[in-house]
Amino acid sequence: MTSIKLKAFAVYAVLFISLFGFATSSMAEKVFAEHKVVLQISDPNPFKQKLVLNVAHNILKYYGPDLVDVEIVAFGPGLRLLFKNNVYKTRIQSLVDSGVRFSACSNTIKNMTKKLGHAPALNPNAVRVDAGVVRILKLTKEGYTLIKP
């Protein structure tokens, strides 16, 4: 009996750890979210920066921060949104506080580094991903709806 109990406990522990591990690996995602949205910002038009932030804000406002999961993926010229000194940094922080995630394309960062001669200073809330487009494809495969304002 003791052996069976130990085995059951071990299985339970493994399952728990696996689940916990999974949860921590994606803890930024909202477990109770009923809607998942990925917003793309890749346009050089400065107005698009404001627009994508407004869209994120409005989605959060409508559904409530806990019931919608929003990630903004920036690549190409749109990466400027995630520059450290971007004028919208306070709005970005506000959205981050509401659970919005910001992903920065590493390929774009590399290209910009070549042009600038140094890596661009990024907003500390930006999470580097291998490629912005790949990140979007991955998220859409996971059920996220892609919006490109």
């Binding site: 050089p44 400065p46 627009l51 407004n54 409005n58 004028v87 919208y88 042009k115 600038l116 709806t145």
Partner: protein
């Protein structure tokens, strides 16, 4: 996952329409004109504005003096002074601004040209003048550097963007003491030939100079503090330096930002000139605040016409003031003093170049080289409707207070209304009740008789920003 695509699309559209939730940016003139929003500004953004206007006086002629019966310069329409009424395209400007290399927000530029008919284009030949061309380096925290030709730090009336100015005409003090005219002589000698009259040697200053400025702003709590130090040629626009003397400018402003208050609506109808394109939210060019400021400008001017005041003279200006924008109320006041070179109008109040009745001399412009003057204004605006603001301004100028017989006093009460068609267009209608006198001379003296003929003025100006 029941994501409602239509709903999200609608939210996206709403976000576009409500692109007004802009940053709580502390906006000030030095920031707006000299920098670009970091991380968002484009390579080149074209913008501009057009201001057609109509002005009219009764056209009262000169009541006394050698030019009695001829046109009074102060009753004629600017800048041609050939009629007492008429339409004029006073300003038509187009410019480009941006960062050049968008990945680097630390360097930006500003370029603006004037096509209208005014003191900038009227003098010095040509119909188009470059008013602004500058580069700003934002590399050093706390010390941004702007180099080129641009508006100098100074009076609120002078420093603010002209297309969001609340009246058609400047106050007397701003017009006569700050909007500098440049001459080669002081006009003290009688001119017997038209070719020899003392007249401006080029465009008015347009409150601008060519030089280098160090500036920045700091936010402490709800206060935003701004400073600027500048060294320039002291020779306005379209000119190099002419005498080796440098003009020094200093400016400080402390602005209390009223947090939680709704932005002042009327200003939001006009897109600001710089950060505007990306931030034309409800804060617009004006936002709720109380600003206290002080400024100084000092330098020398060199006159070169032999027998007409040739020499080097001081020119200093300094002032303090405040602006208040809260709720439906807009208010402001400023006091400033001047020493040294002071624009002194024309001989007998006549239009420069007019032959006197005795045909012995031509009227020319005069400058007091060692004068003193002071000026102040009170300005109040009230928004009675989301699209309509009523304005009232009282301003006074005491010119040449240190020269008894030459002292002149000007005061004007301006009643105005601004109707905002939308964020980019506005109509101003003004009625100016103008008075002037020579306070140390008897009422029967010629200068007082001439100044008694100063008419009230009605004006209307349309604005569109693109």
């Amino acid at each position: 996952m029941k994501t409602n695509h239509k709903l999200i699309l609608a939210l996206t559209c709403a976000a576009g329409l409500l692109a007004s939730s802009g940053e709580a940016l502390a906006i000030n003139w030095l920031k707006m004109q000299g920098t670009e929003p970091p991380g968002t500004s484009g390579r080149a953004r074209v913008w501009g504005f057009i201001q057609p206007e109509y002005q009219q006086t009764d056209g009262t002629k000169l009541q006394a003096g050698p030019w009695k019966g001829q046109n009074a310069a102060f009753n004629m329409s600017r800048p041609d002074l050939k009629s007492d009424s008429g339409f004029n395209l006073i300003r038509a400007r187009i410019g480009v601004r941006g960062t050049g290399f968008p990945l680097d927000s630390d360097v930006n530029y500003f370029f603006l040209a004037e096509f209208g008919n005014n003191g900038i284009t009227h003098q010095g030949g040509g119909s188009v003048k470059l008013t602004d061309a500058s580069v700003t380096l934002n590399e050093i925290k706390g010390a941004r550097i702007r180099v080129g030709t641009f508006k100098t730090p100074g009076s609120e009336e002078a420093l603010m963007a002209i297309h969001v100015f609340n009246y058609v005409n400047f106050s007397n003090g701003t017009n006569q003491l700050l909007l500098e005219r440049y001459f080669n002589g002081d006009g003290s000698s009688a001119k017997t030939s038209l070719a020899s009259i003392n007249k401006p040697n080029g465009p008015v200053s347009a409150f601008r100079d060519t030089g280098i400025q160090v500036f920045d702003w700091f936010t402490i709590g709800n206060w935003e503090h701004t400073y600027a130090l500048m060294v320039g040629n002291g020779n306005g626009i379209t000119r190099n330096d002419n005498d080796g003397n440098r003009e020094v400018y200093a400016y400080w402003a402390s602005e209390l930002l009223f947090t939680g208050a709704t932005p002042f609506p009327s200003g939001s109808h006009l897109a600001p000139p710089s950060w505007s394109a990306d931030h034309q939210g409800p804060r617009g060019v004006r936002y709720q605040s109380l600003k206290l400021y002080g400024w100084y400008q000092g330098g020398k001017r060199t006159l070169t016409t032999a027998g007409d005041g040739a020499g080097v003279y001081d020119r200093t200006r300094q002032g303090v003031g405040f602006t208040l924008l809260r709720g439906k109320v807009r208010a402001g006041a400023e006091y400033f003093v001047a020493k040294g070179m002071i624009f002194n109008g024309t001989d007998g109040g006549a239009v420069a170049g007019s032959h006197n009745n005795a045909k012995t001399a031509f009227a020319d412009f005069n400058v007091t080289t060692n004068g003193e003057a002071n000026s102040w204004y009170l300005d109040f605006g009230y928004l009675i409707h989301p699209k309509l603001e009523l304005d009232i301004r009282y301003d006074t100028l005491n010119r040449d207070t240190n020269i008894s017989k030459a002292e002149r006093k000007f005061d004007t009460l301006t009643l105005g209304a601004q109707y905002f068609f939308n964020k980019k267009s506005r109509l101003i209608v003004n009625y100016e009740m103008r008075n002037a006198s020579a306070p140390n001379l008897p009422g029967s003296a010629a200068p007082n008789k001439i100044l008694d003929g100063m008419d009230n003025r009605v004006s209307a100006q349309l604005l569109i920003i693109f």
